[in-house]
Symmetry: C2
Subunit: 393 residues, 2 copies
């Protein structure tokens, strides 16, 4: 019965991270493993009010089937926000509402990737993208992530050597590393890509969660139509609605809409209406400011506890935003072994290997700082630091 | 730039039906074109109450990320309903919550269909399935639908001649035809399929909308694990939540979960919680009974108006449930030409050709009866009848 399955799925295993998250789900575990936003900042009352309002004013209307593209005023809101945040000129017709930005990755893969096409991804890379793209049987190539992004000359080398069909990246506060491409690297990345026939899928779920004073401009601003930009309300409103979007030029959009229609007809329309009602009546920037402040405090606590408790030999990123921090242990130390010991002491994190599409990363790990308070971070990091020190001796 | 796109999507055109529905969206048009449930039966007050309750009792909890499989109590509810409705023994672990049953089709295609695999579909067949399956580049074969279902000996012939990887069907009140397989044909279909290595994807969004007194049992009851059964809350609760499910055995479920996770991590969790809250506090059977009564009255009106206004030469189905009725004009008459004339008189329907995956059906059309009241049905059908009579002379 094994060849019942399509080739694309035969090799896949149940996600390693899912298993990790299961052991981290025990409420007595201090978990730096998940990628959960802090629920203290979910606008519960505002959502309750929005539900009541839309059901009272447009009862059956918000419950019927809707268009594949999404709720027009919500698409217009997103387009306008690109203008006010970054001076980017995006039309509402360039926005397609998706089930989280994860669905954006799947639809781009479906529209662009043939079997054995060369697909480029950062190393370490976002696991959800690796999973989504894998199912279209591409040939994965990787480009290393440094502290301020990829190396554009390395990108140029790869693009010269190989015909890269699609480059998937998270240039801003990446999952898993927390890295953000510098402005200079954004411009150079765009310059390189403009010379080649490569689609740039730029996943940006964390861009609004910045600890800087200046907004972090998407590469699309410099690259134009060749970039497909993915966005999400999961980190700035709530994740359970699964609301994200694809921002793409008309040429790509026609095919993306066809793929979306085949995938699920349209995104949950009730939630689109709730979020638009919420955004119309509340200042989202005030709300985002609160999230930024809290996450910044938590990131500071995590970095301080690394400096306090971890041995000097380890390396770590110092993210200016997002939800994750990336640790590199000295060569030869295994983060998987560290995990086994840590979970016995009720601390969890994600070992780094699943983020390496072609192997490696045994001495790396991802830490989430968005969903633990400062005291919990201190307690958990102390335990991790002591375990790492013990492994080193 | 044309070869930017993956082969699977290059041939696709914007959906014909989407264009039809756009012209039918004008509120002055009598539309038998769409596939919309009647919004008079949307439980607006109950949903408002459910939103308030879940947000007050589990505020942040209903807004966080959730599991790929879906909300466990909702999966348990669905499993229990298979037992109480049909005496089918389904475990909650055999249920995966999806974005409508449409996503179930996409995930099954992703998990089972390789390029050029033979995929069997009814003729006429559900357009959304044709669209979803097409993107996996199968080789489509068709089996004709008769008034009481497919011909099992024809199915046996096809399965002997070709290695059918997957057979997609809507055995109960099919879209577009309204046809339901008889009990005998259900048993025989299961018997035939048991002898071959074919996955049966049994899409059942309309089964609860029956005008019969006896429940209409899914083929899965007779076929067992080889059947993957798709279900939906769109027709019995509301469509905007995009809540459906896949019911499949453990062997298939592991791969379906991997595909679901890659596609969008999980289905909108807030809506899962709303629907479960609603189902826990209200008698869904009373609610479904109201929908059945209303749709039956509307179907009766449509059949009566066919008998009153249409020429004797036309053929039509008399569905015992669901939302659609299928008309066959005399040979040589074009339903597309009829559409052009009808839309000028502000009546819309869907011409039949898009439901024929390998061509044909020029003299067929689909009529929706669930979303028009009795008077509107009478007015619109009279106009259609007169136009058909004129075309005949």
């Amino acid at each position: 019965m094994k060849d019942k399955f399509a080739l694309r799925i035969r090799k896949t295993q149940k996600s390693f991270i899912r298993e990790i998250l299961k052991s981290a789900a025990d409420p007595s575990v201090i978990s730096f493993a998940g990628g959960l936003p802090n629920p203290d900042f979910f606008p519960v009352q505002e959502i309750k009010q929005a539900c009541t309002t839309i059901l009272e004013t447009d009862g059956p209307g918000v419950l019927q089937y809707s268009t594949t593209e999404g709720y027009p005023p919500l698409r217009e809101y997103i387009a306008k926000r690109y203008l006010s945040n970054f001076g980017m000129h995006i039309e509402p017709e360039d926005i397609l509402i998706t089930n989280g930005s994860q669905q954006g990755i799947d639809l781009c893969a479906k529209v662009f990737v043939n079997e054995n096409d060369a697909v480029l991804i950062e190393e370490p890379g976002y696991l959800g993208a690796i999973q989504a793209l894998s199912l279209y049987s591409p040939r994965f190539l990787t480009i290393p992530l440094n502290k301020d992004g990829i190396d554009p000359s390395c990108l140029a080398d790869i693009c010269t050597r190989e015909r890269i069909k699609l480059f998937y990246a998270v240039p801003t506060f990446q999952n898993p590393s927390g890295t953000a491409y510098s402005l200079e690297i954004r411009r150079q990345t765009a310059q390189v890509l403009q010379q080649y026939d490569t689609i740039f899928v730029e996943d940006d779920p964390y861009g609004e969660i910045t600890f800087r004073t200046e907004p972090v401009t998407p590469v699309k601003k410099y690259l134009g139509d060749r970039s497909i930009l993915l966005g999400s309300f999961s980190k700035i409103v709530v994740p359970s609605f699964r609301l994200g979007w694809i921002c793409a030029s008309r040429e790509f959009m026609d095919k993306l809409i066809i793929a979306k229609q085949g995938a699920d007809l349209h995104t949950n329309y009730f939630s689109q209406r709730i979020v638009f009602e919420l955004l119309s009546n509340h200042n989202i920037d005030d709300h985002i400011a609160k999230i930024r402040n809290a996450y910044k405090t938590q990131r500071d606590a995590m970095i301080k506890s690394i400096q306090n408790y971890f041995p000097l030999e380890i390396d770590y990123t110092q993210p200016d935003g997002g939800m994750f921090l990336w640790v590199t242990l000295p060569d030869g130390l295994s983060s998987l072994k560290l995990f086994d010991q840590a979970i016995r002491q009720k601390v969890a994190f994600v070992p780094g290997t699943p983020f390496f599409v072609n192997g490696g990363g045994e001495n790396t790990l991802r830490l989430n700082f968005s969903n633990s308070d400062v005291d919990t971070i201190d307690r958990g990091m102390k335990i991790l630091g002591e375990l790492i020190k013990k492994m080193l001796t």
